[in-house]
């Protein structure tokens, strides 16, 4: 019962922050709303039993990545964005179209996975660091290594770009 309450609270925070990312005019406000989304997602992971993933979510996304976002926004001194008028089509049909799309998605999911089990909080216990590490280095070794090579390529690319600017 308490789990459901907390799920409701943090799911609501996540959705509201996500909407706020789009609604805010100032880039810093949007970025901080995104931090809110990341943080409440971490709480949801935590409630589902993914302890390690929840902490990694905060350290990597809410901490490192978003701090870099905020850093860049501050460095560029981005001002308040100018809002141009929307097309009347978007104003009228935007919300109904979105709701329709969500309805279609929910309907399709229910049809494709009719016997999907209901998730209960506390059922899943394999979310500790040991289990995650074991899974990464046995079952998912290839994707893990490919991802690290990908990141290495990205770092090399950044270095090359930065060097060109110096010359």
């Amino acid at each position: 019962m308490v789990d459901l309450l907390f799920f409701g609270i943090f799911a609501a925070i996540a959705v509201l922050c996500a909407i706020n990312v789009v609604l805010q005019k100032h880039p810093i406000s949007s970025a901080l709303s995104l931090v809110g989304v990341m943080g409440s997602l971490a709480v949801l992971y935590l409630m589902l039993g993914g302890v390690f993933i929840a902490m990694a979510q905060i350290i990597v996304y809410a901490g490192a990545v978003m701090v870099l976002f905020v850093f860049v926004i501050m460095l560029l001194n981005a001002g308040i964005e100018v809002r141009r008028g929307r097309s009347w089509m978007a104003t009228i049909f935007g919300v109904p179209a979105l709701l329709g799309l969500l309805g279609v998605l929910a309907c399709l999911l229910a049809r494709w996975f009719p016997d999907a089990p209901t998730i209960k909080f506390g059922d899943f216990t394999g979310g500790g660091a040991k289990e995650v590490g074991y899974a990464l280095f046995t079952e998912y070794l290839l994707p893990f290594e490919v991802t690290s090579v990908l990141i290495l390529i990205a770092i090399l690319g950044a270095v090359v770009l930065a060097r060109k600017e110096l010359d």
Binding site: I28, L32, V35, V51, F52, M55, A56, I58, I59, A62, G63, A64, V67, L68, V70, F71, M74, L75, G128, A129
Partner: protein, 399 residues
């Protein structure tokens, strides 16, 4: 009583004790810092408010509370107000997962000496400290002032850079302990070989001396202390990210800095210095270290009170002497020894590290900004990486 009610009561009591002790300690660390720096520089330090300036922190708190909180017209109000709150919140929250001692049993109910026993305590601390950057960065940006903006930018760049070697240095002792829970890490450092304690910095198979040094260097940078206090470099940035802050919002940043100092010292103690385990084994009489130290302090105070230099020493020093002797007596009560001795050792190590922080502030000059960055990326990070690899290699070799 049902277990949940006991838990609720125990947690509330612990919360009250920790909050009171921590907040008082934060105020008095500043007094210690001013006194120590003053004595390093052959000055007196605070000596007007109360005996030996002991009431100075109280006076400072009253001053900060009653000062006018100026809201400058050019600031972004929401973030300007939120930034110090965020900073102090993130700084105080991480103390809740730190274990101070072993368990304590009152009326048949056993409770651990920490607020929350989290099995990923190390990660919680890293997560909270990575969120702490926002307070300073936002404060600098929202002040809408070029000095504070540069201070905030420097602070975020510095904290991101030094978080990497810090995390790598933390990972090495975790490999030796094989756990992410702070309590398990301390328990893994239990025992000793003859006189050498089995702490991580002395431990077989690979002593974590390098990790400890790397961690402490990174900790200085993470807490924006000298020699890495570039975000508030007075000679170039006036006061850095908190130029525009006054009254309690300024005090918020101040408290956050000192609270972060306490936290990193606690983590260093837990990860490298064996937490609450004594410096030498109990059978060699380590339980008598605390009474001996307090008794010596008390006797020295009384001696100087009798052979006084300043007139008021005749009254104040004997009082302190009696208080210290009383503390020594408390540590000799057999029923309290298993509770008090772990706390004594833990606090002694944390205080020593805090003293090192203050000592270095009194000794070293400030880095230049490019030196700061080059040091983090070109020296500290590779060294931390090699250290982690070596530790992993030796741990794998032994197991």
């Amino acid at each position: 009583m049902s277990p949940s009610i006991v838990f609720l009561i125990a947690t509330s009591v612990k919360l009250a004790i920790i909050a009171f002790v921590l907040l008082t300690a934060l105020a008095y660390i500043q007094w210690v810092e001013r006194k120590v720096i003053a004595h390093v520089q052959v000055r007196m330090g605070p000596s007007r408010v109360g005996p030996h300036g002991l009431l100075q922190p109280l006076a400072d708190v009253i001053k900060l509370i009653t000062k006018e909180g100026v809201l400058p017209p050019q600031v972004n109000t929401v973030f300007y107000v939120a930034a110090p709150i965020l900073a102090v919140f993130m700084a105080l929250i991480s103390i809740s997962v730190i274990p101070f001692g072993t368990s304590i049993t009152i009326m048949g109910h056993k409770t651990m000496m920490e607020l929350a026993d989290v099995n990923v305590g190390v990660l919680v601390i890293l997560a909270v400290s990575s969120m702490g950057v926002y307070g300073i960065a936002l404060g600098g940006w929202a002040s809408n002032n070029k000095y504070s903006l540069i201070g905030g930018l420097r602070s975020s760049a510095q904290m991101i850079s030094y978080e990497l070697p810090m995390s790598l240095a933390i990972a090495a002792p975790l490999l030796m302990a094989g756990s992410l829970s702070l309590r398990d890490i301390v328990n893994a450092q239990h025992g000793s070989w003859h006189l050498i304690p089995r702490w991580a910095i002395f431990a077989y198979p690979f002593p974590q001396v390098f990790s400890f040094i790397i961690f402490m260097i990174a900790a200085f940078a993470e807490t924006n202390r000298i020699p890495f206090d570039l975000p508030e470099a007075e000679n170039e940035l006036v006061a850095g990210f908190h130029v525009e802050y006054s009254s309690m919002s300024f005090a918020g940043f101040f408290m956050a800095e000192y609270s972060n100092m306490v936290t990193v010292c606690c983590i260093a103690t837990i990860l490298f210095l064996g937490g609450w385990h004594p410096l030498w084994p109990v059978k060699w009489g380590s339980d008598f270290a605390a009474p001996a130290i307090f008794a010596a302090a008390g006797l020295i105070c009384i001696y100087h009170g009798i052979n006084y230099v300043r007139p008021f020493d005749r009254i104040t020093l004997p009082i302190f002497g009696v208080i210290f002797l009383g503390c020594a007596g408390i540590f000799l009560v057999p029923i309290l020894v298993p509770i008090l001795m772990p706390i004594f050792w833990f606090l002694a190590k944390v205080s020593f590290l805090l003293f090192v922080f203050i000592w270095i502030r009194a000794t070293l000059p400030r880095f230049r900004y490019d030196q700061l960055m080059a040091f983090a990326w070109k020296f500290l990070f590779p060294v931390a990486l090699v250290n982690l690899l070596l530790t992993g290699f030796f741990v794998a070799l032994v197991s």
